[in-house]
Each structure stands twice: as structure tokens, then as C-alpha cells.
């Protein structure tokens, strides 16, 4: 098994408590940073490490920090609003090792000269929020957060803020609106948060896993971190494996590990449920394009997955076997975007409803052949034309599944039932 970074101490009993976390080297990185580094040096260090955002877009973290406008006060928002279907790593990091996240938040705040940091935890994850709050309280008591941290002259306030059920708040500008006490509607960009963000101040927004990785980079150095992964996708990341595999779960692997290893290796997925044939994989949460079984040897790094026609996204790898009706699965994913569309812009608000109606009609055997191209046409009118990426995300599974499995859509229209899966007609009946 390769060396672990983020999940290394995850299963140590009591690692969620300050004393145990410290026994395993916790807060050493913070002490080192405050003692030895100027804030800008940490930004350089993280740039050099090659760390890229683990929330979905994969933007280089250090570069993002470097974009911050010079005016003050500045803010940090840690995005723990994990809601992307197929993704369950941040919840685990918050529940099991919250101090690692808190240390990452403090280090990042110091590097970006932030005086107030927010940790925005998804509302449904009540236990995770309690764990993070307790870690923050312990860190305050130990002098790692507050005024004049460890005698360095640097002061920081950290506020844990709970969401209340809205996928859209994982979008960075909607998250800021929500933090400001409003409905979670996305903002127009530019200006980007680095220039005008929370309360109008320069704001850095990073994902939970991204910030949980920062302490290890500060402790062990940029070169050490960059020695994992591929040339352009450095380090490790947590892959959330779910769906039709024997051993679903979170697996930390160096970027560039083949998809096949994750799915079939005994240490990880252990193969397909019931030893059935692989049909398709969604590599980065339900917002990314579906890949066919022929792409199973794709290395899981940003560039290779993009070349294969999808995105590494949030690391949520959803596996579907041969008995999955693709139309029904896509319908389920599209219902999610319909329900979670915030309603601010028309293409997404109306388009996602329309997509669901068409998919339902096809799935239940009332579709027309022209509906398939109509789906593609609506997708084209949503993608790139909506206010925020939620609209684009709603179309990924539809366009990619029609490209890969068009005959299955056509079969639904022609035969009035599923081609595969539990709702497919028995072979004898189909022959009639």
C-alpha cells in the first residue's frame, strides 16, 4: 500500500482530541510555520508542492492564495459543504480527524494574512459540525487560535458555520451569500472572491480536503509532497468509491493510479459486485461526464481523466455494472439537479425540470425518438448559459450517456421498457 498523507492517522483512537493529535505530530507544522516562515513563504511552499484544489475544479491552491488582493480585512472560507453525489471524504475527515483540518485552516489563514476564518459545514452533517466545533474550541483553549498565537503576534478568529440544506452553497459565491445571511444564490463573476469576496473583502475559499493536506506539506516540505503523483497532478487524494463494487469506501491513493486498480485491487474496491461486467464509471461525482468501461485503464490524474473525456472533480468514483439501466440512473441524477437548482437563472431552473420530464417519459416508455435529440438541445441551452456551474453539471450525465449508450435510449422509446436491469422484459417476452 502506498504511503498515506491525509488519512495516515485517521484510525488512531482518540485522534479527534487535541492531546492525541499532538502525540502524532499535530500542530508541529503550525509551530514551525509561525517560528520559521513569513506568510509569503508558505504561499510559495504550497505553490511549489503542486497541491491542487480537491473540491472539484482542481485549481492550483498556492496560485489561488497568490491572487488575493492586498487590502484588508481578508477572509478564509473553508468549504465543508460536501454534497456532490458520490462524495463522502470531507465528512470522514471532519468526523475523524478534525484537528488536521483546523490546523490547515490556521496555517492557510496565516499564509494569506487572514484575520477571520469560517468553516462552512453542511447542515445535514451534524456530528461532523460538532467534531469540528470541539476541535476549534480545544485549539482556542490551547492558544492555537485567538490573539497573539504562540507569541507570534498573529491573531485569528475561527467561526464554525452550519449550512441548512442547499447543494448550491457548495458553489463558492453562493457559500459567501449564505455566510452573509442570505439565500444561497450565486454571484456574478468577475469580480472573483480573491478581489471582492465575503463582506466585500479579499477572500480565499478552499475545500476541506485541500486544507487538511496543508499541515503535512508544511511539516515535510514541498518536494516531499511533489514526489507523489504525476508531473502535473502532484500528491495523493482521497477517492470515494461507491456503487456496484464489492468494497466501497474512501481510499487515499497517489494521483495517477489507474482506475482499474481502484476498482479491482483487493486492497481497494475488490472488483464488481456479483462479479458482473463493468458498464460505466463516473469519475468525479455526478457532475462529471460518464466514462465507458473501455476507459478503465485511465490513470486517475487531472490530465488523463480530462483526456478520457471527463473530470476528476470531487473524487467521487461511482461504478455501475452491466445490469444498470442508464436512463433510470441518469434520471435519478437529473432529479438531483432539478431539486437543487436555486432558481436564480432561467436556463437551469426551467431546463432541469424539462430534462426530468423528458427522461421520465422515456424511462416509462412514453418517449418519442425526437426526445433524445431534444434532451441534447436543452443541455446545449443550459450548459455554459446558466449563472453558475450547477447548470453545466446537470447536463454532464445526459450528454455523455447519450453519446455512449444511445441505443439504450432508443430501445426505451421503441420497446417501451428498459433494455437491461430489473425492469427489462424477460428474453422470452422480448422475442414475441
Amino acid at each position: 500500500m502506498p504511503e498515506l498523507i491525509i488519512t495516515k492517522h485517521l484510525d488512531v483512537p482518540g485522534i479527534d482530541r487535541l492531546d492525541v493529535y499532538r502525540q502524532y505530530g499535530g500542530y508541529e507544522a503550525l509551530e514551525k510555520a509561525l517560528r520559521e516562515y513569513q506568510p509569503e513563504e508558505i504561499v510559495e511552499l504550497v505553490k511549489k508542492s503542486g497541491l491542487r484544489g480537491r473540491g472539484g475544479a482542481g485549481f492550483p491552491t498556492g496560485m489561488k492564495w497568490g491572487f488575493l488582493a492586498k487590502n484588508e480585512p481578508r477572509y478564509l472560507c473553508c468549504n465543508c459543504d460536501e454534497s456532490e453525489p458520490g462524495t463522502f471524504k470531507d465528512r470522514m475527515l471532519m468526523e475523524k480527524n478534525p484537528h488536521q483540518l483546523v490546523e490547515g485552516v490556521i496555517l492557510t489563514s496565516y499564509a494569506c494574512r487572514v484575520s477571520t476564518a469560517f468553516i462552512y459545514v453542511r447542515g445535514e452533517l451534524a456530528y461532523a459540525a460538532r467534531q469540528v466545533q470541539r476541535a476549534v474550541d480545544e485549539a482556542y483553549a490551547a492558544g492555537y487560535i485567538g490573539k497573539n498565537i504562540l507569541g507570534s503576534g498573529y491573531s485569528l478568529d475561527v467561526i464554525v458555520h452550519r449550512g441548512a440544506g442547499a447543494y448550491i452553497c457548495g458553489e463558492e459565491s453562493a457559500l459567501m451569500e449564505s455566510l452573509e445571511g442570505r439565500r444561497g444564490y450565486p454571484r456574478l463573476k468577475p469580480p472573483f472572491p480573491a478581489a471582492v469576496g465575503l463582506y466585500g473583502g479579499p477572500t480565499v475559499i478552499n475545500n476541506c480536503e485541500t486544507l487538511s493536506t496543508v499541515p503535512a506539506i508544511v511539516r515535510n516540505g514541498a518536494d516531499w509532497y511533489a514526489s507523489f503523483g504525476t508531473e502535473k497532478s502532484k500528491g495523493t487524494r482521497i477517492f470515494c468509491l461507491s456503487g456496484h463494487v464489492k468494497k466501497p469506501g474512501n481510499y487515499e491513493l497517489p494521483l495517477g493510479t489507474p482506475l482499474r486498480t481502484l476498482i479491482y485491487d483487493e486492497q481497494y474496491g475488490g472488483g464488481i459486485l456479483g462479479d458482473k461486467k463493468l458498464k460505466a464509471v463516473i469519475p468525479g461525482g455526478s457532475s462529471t461526464f460518464i466514462l465507458g468501461a473501455d476507459k478503465v485503464d485511465t490513470p486517475l490524474d487531472f490530465e488523463s481523466v480530462a483526456a478520457a473525456g471527463s473530470m476528476l472533480g470531487s473524487g467521487g468514483v461511482i461504478v455501475m455494472h452491466e445490469d444498470t439501466c442508464i436512463v433510470d440512473a441518469v434520471l435519478r441524477m437529473t432529479e438531483f439537479y432539478r431539486d437543487e437548482s436555486c432558481g436564480k437563472c432561467t436556463p437551469c431552473r426551467e431546463g432541469t425540470y424539462w430534462l426530468v420530464q423528458l427522461l421520465e417519459r422515456i424511462e416509462h416508455g412514453h418517449g418519442k425518438m425526437s426526445d433524445i435529440d431534444l434532451l441534447l438541445d436543452i443541455c446545449d441551452n443550459i450548459s455554459g448559459k446558466s449563472f453558475c456551474p450547477l447548470g453545466d453539471a446537470a447536463t454532464s450525465s445526459i450528454t455523455s450517456s447519450i453519446k455512449l449508450f444511445r441505443e439504450e435510449y432508443e430501445y426505451h422509446v421503441r420497446e417501451g421498457c428498459c433494455m437491461v436491469g430489473p425492469k427489462a422484459r424477460k428474453p422470452a417476452a422480448a422475442a414475441l
Partner: protein, 174 residues
């Protein structure tokens, strides 16, 4: 009625944030904890504590699904029906719960015991299918486990009913 204590906590929260209205979401949680849902009194209390209009508070409360617009059941059961749970057979379990509880998804039982909801991905796809009972996770669901859960809830309500019957003074959750 929202207690003076709760209103005080809302005012403290308002002071904790750089801008008072940032406390609207935690304040709504505080109010909801007192009344079980976001009542008119809850909206008014939050508005007063944060110096907002009632309509403004309501516009926030109605955006987020975790603020209840009407009283929910004592046990709010949220079953995930997103893609990973779907692939692992959540639909049959939701139907099983509907049968056992005698309500459809989205409904509250007439006796006020249960609210059954379907919900979006709960970040538990590795242990799918999954549900939450009043925010606590139950993972790796099977039909047998669902049956045991319902039995357990029924038993809890029964004991509660008996103890209330014996000491009426202790009833009412005060």
C-alpha cells in the same frame, strides 16, 4: 414562544460575526430547536435579535430545506435517494418504510410520530444505502435492519407513552 434565553443567544451570535445578519442561520436553528419548526414567533424573534425585517428572515428560512415550515414528526426520517444509494437499492427500502410507517414520502403521520422524507446525497455513499433519524446516521441499510429500526422506534414510543401515563406531571417535555 421563544424563550428569553434563546433570544439572548441569538444576540450573542450576532455580535460574534463581523456583520449581525450572518447569524441568521444559526439563530433560526436556535428558534427551531425551541418550537420544533420555524413558526411566526420564531421569525419574529430572529428578526428582532438581528435587526432584520420578518420578511427578510422568512426569505432565508424558506430557501434552506432544514428549516421546517410546519411541525415535523418526533422522528424525522430522511432517506437518501441519490445515485449511489439508488445503485444500492434504496428505492425498495423507501417503499418498505412507507408500508411500515403507513405514510408516503413527504408526509407526517397523523399521530405526529414520524415524518418520512427522501433527501439528496448524505455523503455516505461508501456505506449506502443510508438514512438519518433526527440527524443521526444509520448506514449500510438492509430490509432486516429497516424492520428492526421501525420496531425499535415503536418500542420507544410505547415506553414513552407508558411513562407518561404513570406520571402525568412529567409529560409534555418541559
Amino acid at each position: 414562544m421563544i424563550s428569553e434565553q434563546a433570544k439572548q443567544r441569538m444576540r450573542e451570535l450576532a455580535a460574534r460575526y463581523p456583520v449581525a445578519r450572518s447569524a441568521v442561520m444559526p439563530a433560526l436553528y436556535i428558534a427551531q430547536a425551541e418550537e420544533g419548526y420555524v413558526s411566526r414567533a420564531a421569525l419574529e424573534a430572529v428578526a428582532e435579535a438581528l435587526n432584520m425585517t420578518v420578511d427578510d428572515v422568512e426569505s432565508v428560512a424558506t430557501f434552506y430545506t432544514m428549516y421546517y415550515q410546519r411541525p415535523p414528526g418526533k422522528k424525522v426520517i430522511k432517506v437518501c435517494n441519490s445515485i449511489s444509494c439508488y445503485l444500492r437499492g434504496c428505492d425498495a427500502l423507501i417503499e418498505q418504510l412507507e408500508r411500515r410507517l403507513g405514510i408516503k414520502r413527504g408526509e407526517t403521520s397523523p399521530d405526529g410520530r414520524y415524518t418520512l422524507l427522501t433527501t439528496e446525497c448524505l455523503a455516505s455513499c461508501g456505506t449506502a444505502p443510508v438514512l438519518q433519524v433526527n440527524d443521526e446516521f444509520v448506514e449500510n441499510l438492509t430490509p432486516e435492519l429497516v424492520d428492526r429500526l421501525v420496531d425499535q422506534w415503536e418500542a420507544e414510543f410505547q415506553t414513552e407513552g407508558q411513562s407518561q401515563g404513570r406520571s402525568p406531571a412529567g409529560a409534555g417535555g418541559c
